[in-house]
Amino acid sequence: MTRTSDNVTTRRRLLKGGVVSALIGALIPSGFARATVYATADEARRLIWGGEEFLQIAVTLTKDQKTKIRKLAKTRIYSDKLNVYRSAQGNWFILDQVIGKHEFIDLAVGIDNTGKVTGIEVLEYRESYGHEIINPKWLAQFYGRDNSKRLRLTKEIKNISGATLSCRHVTDGINRLTNTWDLVLKHIKV
């Protein structure tokens, strides 16, 4: 068998990849994802609250509380278990997740003892199209080497231009948390 030139091979691979991915796309929702990790929960706590010490408090929202918060914040509530921490001064450190149409964002939020939001840090940002990537290797065979690189974009993400990502879901999430503070957290006695 004669060797084709690199150019032709690449083109064929692209074409094949295109056709295969189009077919797969029609049958199984394929995933495209980009993930960026900014800070750990501990780092975010220090960024928002410095050296202040926090203790985790177990809080589970009742059905009634969930309904009230949902109505006040006009946003969905995915989990009734809260991941919240309180300091001796009555300040709160909250770990939360917001889910948009294409994005999953892990957030850390500081709310002080008067209910004021003192800081919001994005911990991790994941953007996905179709389903979340379950097996990157499986996907890589369809999209070539470029795809596996895209999955590890953390180092390069700081130089991406053109991605005007909307933070509307984060705004909704913050609204949900301030309402949660007002209805629930504020009234918790130690």
Partner: protein, 282 residues
């Protein structure tokens, strides 16, 4: 040597700050915080959505009486009006009424029936007035200005940093940009995001022309023109500042015939097509 990478939601998007320098983690935290404080300040002045922003006060009152403005607003409006004049109105920050009509901005302030345009804006030292009722939306240009302000503040604090970058939803400013690569996000034929690598050609870059997902709508409008822009590409502009780069992407995107203006401001415009090929526009 240590580094920090943080992201916060501001200006309707996510703002990323990255610093790499020979300083301790506490210092990195406080310097990046100083950068975010600048961004937050501009958000509070120039957000269309904040009910008590300086922009909202101007939009509500400038048609009936002159409104005092901050030096920040003065700088942004000076560039905006200069660009409007030199592009014969292709670039126009009084686009808000059209954006409200198309559902991109909330109808919190009543849309004027026959709104004026950039020619009806009177910018005086420390004051602004409208000759006709109109509404301003500073969107991209304010975002670019906020990036510059945060960047300048942090690079003054650590002038010998190995790297500083600020990215607000695609408005990017980089300290050591020579030899750095950037990625332009574009959409392939199936509307999936892909990234085209390009070398950084200047300290700042901005891109325009991506569409909201799943909709055939356009985020960039030519004032007074309901025609759809060609779906083909993303326009990226490299310039010395983010504010200029962001504003010039709109000029280059909307008016190919005004590319001279991009050059006059020292900008370089690139067009990326759906295959990811980036080409210098001339």
């Amino acid at each position: 040597m240590s580094e920090i990478s943080r992201a916060q939601p501001w200006l309707g998007t996510f703002v990323e700050i990255y610093i790499k320098a020979d300083i301790g983690p506490d210092e990195l935290a406080s310097i990046s915080q100083a950068g975010f404080d600048k961004i937050a300040h501009i958000h509070k002045l120039m957000s269309y959505h904040e009910g008590d922003s300086e922009l909202t006060k101007i939009n509500r009152n400038a048609a009936s009486a002159k409104v005092q403005i901050s030096p920040h607003m003065q700088r942004v409006m000076t560039l905006a009006l200069d660009l409007s004049k030199r592009s014969d109105g292709r670039f126009d920050v009084s686009i808000a009424p059209e954006l409200i009509q198309k559902g991109y901005l909330p109808n919190t302030i009543e849309r004027p029936k026959n709104p004026g345009d950039w020619r009806d804006i009177e910018l005086l030292p420390d004051e602004i007035g409208f000759k006709k009722p109109l509404l301003l939306d500073l969107g991209g240009i304010a975002k670019g200005y906020a990036v510059d302000l945060a960047f300048d503040c942090m690079s003054e604090m650590v002038p010998d940093a190995h790297q500083i970058s600020v990215n607000a939803g695609g408005d990017l400013r980089v300290l050591r940009w020579q030899g750095e690569k950037a990625q332009i996000e574009y959409r392939d034929i199936m509307n999936r995001p892909r990234y085209a690598p390009v070398p950084m050609l200047a300290p700042a870059m901005a891109s325009s022309g991506l569409y909201p997902r799943g909709k055939d709508n356009h985020l960039v409008f030519r004032p007074g023109d309901n025609q759809k822009r060609p779906r083909r590409n993303v326009i990226t502009v490299f310039a010395s500042s983010s504010m200029v780069a962001d504003a010039l992407t709109k000029v280059a995107y909307l008016a190919d015939d005004y590319l001279d203006l991009v050059r006059e401001f020292g900008g370089i415009a690139l067009a990326t097509n759906w295959t990811g090929r980036a080409k210098v526009m001339s």
